[in-house]
């Protein structure tokens, strides 16, 4: 049977159309598309929130909102960006690309896959509903404790905290279901000949991510459940008067929270080397070294959590242990950077948009990583902790490292997914606007932190004016530049120059052996890997 006849036969397969198609689909590409679309929408929602904040912080004094509302925006912004934008985007790519890259017909557990996605829209609603309810006089708004939920403040808070707790439970379950699916798929569904050490790097990144999620989401869920019972059912887990300890919450939260940041980055560390090798036209350097480094970082990630709360006070041996273990993460990371750059070195590079983003990513994520190193120093941390220095650091790692990484992946795989080329001109413009305005937004924040500006304040002393102004103006440029990204994606999905199967001259991997876009059921015959 020739492939054309098979393809023709395909179109008569009945999968439902319209809403029912999307509600009931078990197809990994459909589900991937839903994850990515959801992520993009939530990215814009979270972005609008932070622009409101930067508008308020443009000048000293309060102009737009009360402190109570400000406190709601900052926490919900973070929860949305982390749980509703970055993680779903990475999961979207996992769903789309992992089966294609390993030669599998679909994910191992397709129905579980569907449930994993459909938990997300209700969670997003739960998170944002309190804003609307407050407009009608019900409750006093959304979560106002920051995304970290620290008690006793979170025990004091109104119904916004309860909504956020439920949202986190649903988001957590979704992540765990997705992780189970990914682990099972990678263990059981690789094409014959694809040993673990022949797996694409993206698969490795996600394999470790999935294990981290299973190891840490239950602890987060436990922590917020205990918070819920402290709030409503008379327990005293985090209440000193009842024999509990507020700082215990921080241990539980950050036991999840630190691995979480690697959960956000590992998938990107998986596909960035694939982009680099494509546009350098030479195989990635140090495949094995990278795999071992990813494992090392995954393992270290779970034993360094207390560096998020050095100033809460803990015994000296604990402070020293967490300081040195945190610093140790820089070692495998250095190996990764070395391998990425050595991949570029003496390649034959071209700089289409994915490569622009990948190279910019190395530089900007590098700044994030280096500024993280100084934060590990316990004594110095007394100065940096909860100041804008930390805010700048984590935006370098999570925006430049996470979001710009996802953008690189988007441009890289969009032609494969849609069958059309995106506008290269617009893509390059988007890159430069984003990279430049991003730096102008956050570099001033490093200096604000050093100068003594704390975070999570709606108004500030006069000496912080200039840097806040620059940061706010740049933030608006950054925000509006993302409209170029949305426009490019939407027009690309709808039409454009037809993409070849190979798309990129140097692209390697099984996904590039399929048509662009791939057929609804990707592999009708299982490929073998030499």
């Amino acid at each position: 049977m020739s492939t054309t006849t098979v393809a023709h036969h395909e179109e008569h397969h009945d999968h439902p159309a319209g809403i029912m198609r999307w509600l009931t689909t078990t197809n990994h590409k459909d589900i991937g598309t839903m994850y990515l679309t959801f992520a993009l929408i939530m990215f814009l929602v979270g972005g609008v929130m932070i622009l409101a904040i930067r508008a308020e912080l443009f000048q000293p004094g309060l102009q737009l909102m009360n402190p109570e509302f400000y406190n709601q925006l900052i926490g919900v912004h973070a929860l949305i960006m982390i749980f509703a934008a970055l993680m779903p985007a990475a999961t979207g790519f996992a769903n789309w690309m992992i089966p294609l890259q390993i030669g599998a017909p679909d994910m191992a557990l397709p129905r579980l896959n569907n449930w994993g996605f459909w938990l997300l829209p209700p969670s997003a609603i739960l998170l944002t509903l309190p804003f609307t309810l407050a407009l009608f006089g019900i409750g006093d708004g959304a979560l106002a404790t920051g995304w970290t939920f620290y008690p006793p403040l979170s025990v004091q808070g109104g119904i916004g905290v309860d909504f956020a707790i439920f949202a986190v439970h649903l988001l957590g379950i979704s992540s765990v279901l997705g992780s189970i699916n990914i682990i099972v798929t990678l263990f059981n569904m690789r094409a014959p000949g694809m040993t673990l050490m022949k797996m694409p790097m993206f698969a490795w990144g996600w394999l470790i991510t999935a294990f981290l999620l299973i190891a840490t989401i239950p602890v987060l869920a436990g922590a917020v459940t205990m918070l819920l019972t402290d709030r409503h059912f008379g327990t005293h887990f985090f209440d000193a008067a009842g024999g509990g300890d507020p700082i215990m919450f921080q241990h539980l939260f950050w036991f999840f929270g630190h691995p979480e940041v690697y959960i956000l980055l590992l998938p990107v560390w998986g596909f960035i080397p694939q982009i680099l090798e494509t546009f350098s036209r030479k195989p990635m350097y140090g495949y094995k070294a990278q795999v071992y480094s990813l494992w090392a970082i995954g393992a270290l990630a779970v034993v360094v959590w207390a560096h998020h709360f050095f100033t809460a006070g803990m015994p000296v041996p604990a402070l020293l242990y967490f300081m040195y273990s945190t610093m140790a993460i820089s070692l495998p990371l250095a190996v990764l950077f070395f391998c990425w750059i050595k991949t570029m070195w003496k390649g034959s590079m071209s700089f289409e948009t994915p490569m622009l983003f990948a190279v910019g990513w190395i530089i900007l994520f590098g700044i994030g990583g280096l500024t993280g190193l100084v934060l590990a120093d316990v004594a110095a941390d007394a100065q940096y902790h909860n100041s804008y220095f930390v805010v700048a650091h984590f935006h370098y790692t999570l925006f430049a490292g996470g979001i710009m990484g996802i953008m690189a992946g988007t441009y890289y795989w969009l032609p494969k997914m849609t069958g059309h080329m995106y506008s290269e001109k617009l893509g390059k413009l988007h890159f430069w606007l984003t990279a430049i305005s991003f730096n102008l937004t956050f570099i001033p924040q490093f200096f604000l932190g050093l100068a003594g500006m704390p975070r999570r304040i709606p108004d500030y002393a006069l000496q912080f004016t200039e840097f806040n102004m620059i940061s706010s103006i740049s933030a608006f440029v950054l925000g509006f530049s993302q409209l170029l990204f949305v426009y490019n994606i939407v027009t690309c999905a709808r039409g454009g120059k037809k993409a070849t199967d190979q798309v990129w001259e140097g692209a390697k991997g099984l996904e590039w052996t399929l048509t662009s876009p791939p057929p609804y059921h990707s592999f009708t015959e299982q490929p073998t890997v030499k």
Partner: protein, 390 residues
Amino acid sequence: MQGFKRISLGILAMLASINVNADYSWNFPAPATPMALDTLHVHNKFMTITGIIFVVVLLIMIYSIFAHRKSKSFKPVVDKVPSTAVEIFWTLIPFAILLLIDFVIMGIPAYHSVVMMEDTRDKATMVIKITGSQWRWQYEYMDGDAKGIKFVSNLSTPKEQTEKGFKGIKDEHYLLEVDNRLVLPVGEKVRILMTSNDVLHNWWVPQFGSSRVAVPGFLRETWVQVDREGTYRGQCKELCGKGHGYMPVVVDAVPMDQFKIWVAAKKDELAKASAGSDKEWNKEDLIANGKTVYEKNCAVCHQITGAGLPPAFPPLTGSKIANGPIFGADGKYLKDSHLDRVLNGVRVMPAWKTMLNDTEIASVITYERNALGNSVGDVLQPAQVKAARQ
């Protein structure tokens, strides 16, 4: 295009005009304690090392970006599958460089810094206790001449300046000024005990280089030794609710002889204030005094009009508690009465008995019952509050 040009010019002009009084700062403020000095050195050293690494790596990348391009017809090299020994060697170089930086160059001094920072007792000559609450700091001197001095430190920036939409001129130390400053003697190592009345707070003065979380129900410790005379300003550094940005720290470091003078004066002032609780006050004075206390401490939640912010903060206007009886037949104050509320708090409302004296409590209760839309008519005397504390 014209509009775009105008807007950009406008923004540039605005930025330029700000620069006239611009205050750009690129590093920590001048350190005033040994810890702050240590941290400044660590920061500078780390930044220098990481800066050099960054620049070197960036230059390598830039070279590669320009030299190893397809458009220059550069032929890609295929990295030979290296022998394991070679691969290990190359991979271990970045590993080893960072090992040296992390655990030797930065790591060994970091150890000493931690030990120094956590040693709150050795050579400490005085102890103070700092209590964080929503939304003010309270200071208490625990030993020496100053023992017994205890006061609350409230933000003293006029409230209207911090209100939404205020367009006038702000104070020079907007948001960083208080009514009662913490005063410490220069050059003395001060052990600081830290706790909280309600939620987590964090006491931070950037020039001191020490920061510690105030945890309710626990005592945390840190220390400062202010080596230079001066006025130092800081803020709360742990999100603690809507007043988080409005509870600054102001410390005056003065020579020892000046400190002793301040101690005597402060003790005098506090004695006078509590003596007020023994005399009989007239209604007008109580109400006038109560208004000041109310606006400084209560208005942030119950609003200046007494309207409150339900559901979180109930209104006082027309409230059952503010209009109801305070004392029962046996002469003791009733549970959930106005006095009970103010003394002992409830849920997120603090127990003001720890922060306000008898006169202040009596005044504010009298004010609340005879203003803010209420007209109960009665009066609460400071002596009654003093008796109620028993």
